[in-house]
């Protein structure tokens, strides 16, 4: 718990920068009272969001790989360890829809299975610096957003997960042809550690922008943030 709280401190003590850490108003222990360095770094992170949005080309595809390049065994990663994975009951599961969407009827697994499917072998790059290659299959998010009558001029698509995780992405990235609502991993239905029954798979962003075990999807113009973004990671985090 104390470790979790430690990590919540947005930006750590600037050890070598004594001058910065003695500036008035510095309080590295409380996220509610960001100090000067925190504010400056947050402003730069928002600037970097804008630069990345400008750099994003909807026609540039993430590289795809042959089946022989797939990482085996697949690597589990979450903000808890594998023993604590939340197991969702697929039979009663449904995807709730909220926000600027015309048809908010929830979707069940069978509805998603009946939708057009695509499969890709792509690279997942973790913010930590490692990368894995996997095969994901599912419904293109762009198709899904149009099918439910989402306002594709809105700024954000927001995701909520069964384990309390939440994330959001920009609309142009959501409409990218490789962005999937994934149902399958390595040719089989997703397993609980890898996001059963439905996850976002977006190879144009870092791994933490690929939320697992989705329970709700929304479209909004109000910045929804994200679990890690609230702790200091850059929001856009595009590759």
């Amino acid at each position: 718990m104390s470790d979790a709280l430690d990590r919540r401190r947005l930006l750590g003590r600037a050890l070598a920068f004594g001058a910065l850490s003695v500036l008035p108003g510095c309080n590295y222990d409380n996220l509610q009272h960001p100090d000067f360095a925190d504010r400056a770094l947050r402003a730069m992170s928002r600037w970097n969001d804008r630069v990345q949005a400008a750099l994003f080309d909807p026609h540039t595809l993430a590289p795809t790989f042959p089946a022989s390049a797939i990482t085996r065994p697949p690597r589990f990663n979450a903000f808890y360890d594998e023993a604590h994975v939340h197991v969702v009951d697929g039979a009663s599961w449904q995807l709730e829809l909220f926000g600027n969407i015309a048809e908010k009827r929830p979707w069940r697994l069978a509805d998603l299975r009946a939708a057009p499917q695509e499969s890709q072998i792509t690279r997942l790059i973790c913010v930590e610096g490692w990368r894995v290659i996997g095969q994901w299959g599912g419904v293109p998010l762009g198709w899904f957003l149009r099918r439910i009558g989402a306002d594709t001029k809105a700024r954000y698509v927001s995701f909520r997960c069964a384990d309390g995780y939440y994330e959001s992405i920009d609309m142009p990235s959501a409409l990218h042809p490789q962005t999937l609502l994934a149902l399958d991993f390595l040719g089989k239905p997703l397993t609980p550690p890898f996001g059963y029954p439905l996850r976002l798979r977006i190879p144009t962003k870092l791994g933490f922008k690929n939320p697992k075990s989705l329970v709700a999807l929304g479209v909004t113009n109000v910045f929804p943030g994200g679990y890690w973004v609230a702790q200091g990671y850059n929001w856009f985090s595009g590759s």
């Binding site: 930006l11 913010v127 930590e128 200091g232």
Partner: protein, 225 residues
């Protein structure tokens, strides 16, 4: 008469009656734009290297990690925030330096690439404490080091962009051989810069009189080379 702060010997022919028109006049060893850019760059490099070590520690490439007391950011999110903020200072200052140095002739006059023999000779002289330092003149070892660190800096920025944006900047990623290879290139570029820094600081320690002019500008006679 306006004069360029960093210009070399007066190229005009001897005017005759007054053979030393510049006698008694001085110019700085390091003109102010150079000093400003030097210290901005020093700040950016220290922040980039220390936050970069913290980022490295999240997924080490080799069998070692950097101790927390020499890294910046405290955790990965903090380190990335420092790294991607300071990169703007590093790049904008670096571009300003390259533009300034090529447009006003600083590179042509003071950073002429040395031949291997010159470097060897000056290295031996430096190691045996016989290398004379003249303010305003870079010896062959200095020129070799400065050119090398500029190259490492360009490599660090290009490979860093390839690590940050392997999809959008796919041509950079491909150039370095993909995402993982880009991380190694980025690491070795850092190692080159840190290696330069070690030698640079050692030379300053050996010849401490070079430090004040990098702060105050120092004074050189107009007649000095």
């Amino acid at each position: 008469m306006p004069h360029h702060p960093d210009r070399g010997p007066d190229p005009r022919p001897n005017p005759g009656p007054n053979p030393r028109p510049n006698r008694g006049r001085t110019r700085p060893v390091h003109p102010w734009p150079l000093r400003l850019m030097h210290w901005l760059n020093a700040t950016a490099i220290v922040v980039m290297v220390m936050s970069g070590w913290q980022i490295y520690d999240a997924s080490p490439l080799f069998g070692f990690s950097f101790p927390g007391r020499i890294t910046l950011g405290e955790w990965l999110g903090g380190a990335i925030a420092w790294h991607l903020a300071a990169m703007w200072l590093l790049v904008l200052n670096g571009v300003a330096y390259l533009a300034w140095g090529s447009l006003n002739g600083h590179f042509r006059r003071r950073l002429r690439p040395p031949g291997p023999r010159e470097v060897w000779r000056d290295t031996i002289l430096a190691l045996t404490f016989r290398l004379d330092h003249r303010h305003g003149v870079y010896n062959a070892v200095q020129r070799a080091l400065y050119l090398a660190v500029i190259a490492f800096g360009v490599l660090a920025v290009a490979s860093g962009l390839a690590v940050w944006k392997p999809v959008q900047l796919w041509f950079l990623s491909d150039l370095f051989g993909g995402f993982r290879a880009s991380r190694y290139v980025h690491f070795f570029a850092m190692a080159g810069i840190v290696g330069f820094l070690a030698v640079h600081l050692m030379l300053v320690a050996l010849v401490p009189k070079v430090l004040p002019p990098m702060i105050t500008g120092g004074r050189l006679s107009e007649d000095a080379p």
